[in-house]
């Protein structure tokens, strides 16, 4: 169901609310700004700002153990930081829902972002995370909903990979 929202982050926010996802754990990224602002402004949601992404994997697992649903949002570079941590939700069969804003991919200016950006999906799949790449803004909401449902209903790790084609490559003043 393509969306008419002004920004794809509103679609994610709506689908998260509809599924009672009440916590957002994140190391901020430019592509996540709108979503973070929506969560920060919502009285019923908790924003958990992290120092490094694997903390979010642990916090989300702890939330689920206690009966709360959480989402972890990060830039693709953070996936590299998180690989060993992803063994924890896999071992517990705890739902692990991730939103990844891609770098090093579509129109990247910064060569330092390219190795991890290119390795993001293979690395996630190597540790058993189901990947849901999305290339068009209108499809972000339904893709997020599908990933969230498989994560929470099947108790699996699932990641939505939002392309730089959706976000727009970082301009660096050019």
């Amino acid at each position: 169901m393509p969306s008419a929202s002004a920004h794809w982050s509103q679609d994610i926010f709506r689908e998260a609310k509809a599924r009672n996802i009440t916590t957002l754990c994140t190391v901020p990224d430019g592509g996540l700004t709108a979503l973070i602002d929506l969560v920060a402004a919502d009285r019923d949601m908790r924003l958990v700002t992290l120092t490094t992404e694997p903390e979010g994997i642990g916090i989300a697992a702890g939330c689920w153990l206690g009966g709360v649903r959480a989402l972890i949002a990060m830039q693709s570079s953070g996936v590299g930081n998180s690989i060993n941590a992803l063994g924890l939700p896999a071992a517990l069969r705890a739902p692990c829902l991730m939103l990844i804003t891609m770098r090093g991919q579509w129109g990247e200016f910064n060569p330092w972002q390219v190795p991890m950006g290119q390795a993001t999906r293979p690395a996630l799949e190597a540790v058993g995370v189901k990947c849901f790449p999305v290339e068009r803004a209108a499809e972000v909401g339904e893709t997020f909903a599908a990933a969230a449902d498989i994560a929470f209903h099947s108790r699996l790790s699932a990641a939505v990979l939002v392309s730089q084609r959706v976000i727009g490559a970082k301009g660096f003043g050019r």
């Binding site: 694997p54 642990g58 989300a60 702890g62 153990l65 206690g66 924890l88 071992a91 069969r93």
Partner: protein
């Protein structure tokens, strides 16, 4: 730097602490902290971990945020705490009043062959925790402080952190359930959660 070799025995310390936990939930870090907790007597309120080094505090934080009416105690080692030191910033920022952290500090990587740990020198985890803004911290070096340690971990408004300087000991193996699905389901059932 420690003034003298620690004499506190980890197994006795944990058994005495857990005897007065009340209804507190416990997240035990990988390796020896999980063996210590299990050796003191198994309970559905305990989450043992066998991997994910650095995540004991984040998991306990998530549990504390989700269960604000229950005290949550993370029990971890000096190595795991230093691997996840940044999580103390997140704990401080979220400021859950029901979260306590106990760091069992033997100044060594005991589980992997007793290699020298980073707290054997100038590194002070309790001081770091104060810097991150935790509400109260303490370092325990002998049994005289057990009463105060119990008060801090189970009664003081959190988030709080205690470092227990413990002897580098050889203890009998005490291995809990390692099937994470069973461990998680047991805890969730104890909390009245389904699915």
């Amino acid at each position: 730097m420690s003034a003298r070799a620690p004499t506190l025995q980890r197994r006795t310390l944990i058994a005495e602490l857990l005897a007065r936990r009340g209804t507190a939930l416990v997240v035990a870090g990988l390796g020896s902290p999980s063996w210590d907790v299990f050796a003191a007597g198994d309970h559905a309120d305990y989450l043992y971990t066998w991997g994910g080094m650095g995540l004991a505090v984040p998991v306990a934080l998530g549990l504390a945020l989700a269960q604000p009416s229950r005290r949550v105690l993370a029990i971890t080692g000096d190595g795991e705490m230093l691997m996840g030191t940044g999580s103390l910033a997140v704990v401080s920022d979220q400021a859950p009043e029901n979260l306590a952290i106990l760091v069992l500090d033997n100044e060594a990587f005991a589980e992997t062959g007793r290699q020298r740990g980073l707290t054997a020198g100038r590194v002070d985890i309790a001081a770091a925790a104060r810097g991150f803004g935790l509400r109260e911290t303490m370092t325990v070096r002998d049994r005289d402080a057990m009463g105060e340690l119990g008060r801090l971990l189970f009664e003081a408004p959190g988030p709080v952190l205690a470092v227990a300087k413990i002897a580098l000991s050889t203890d009998p193996w005490a291995l809990p359930e390692k099937d994470g699905v069973l461990i998680a389901q047991r805890l969730r059932s104890a909390l009245g959660l389904k699915g």
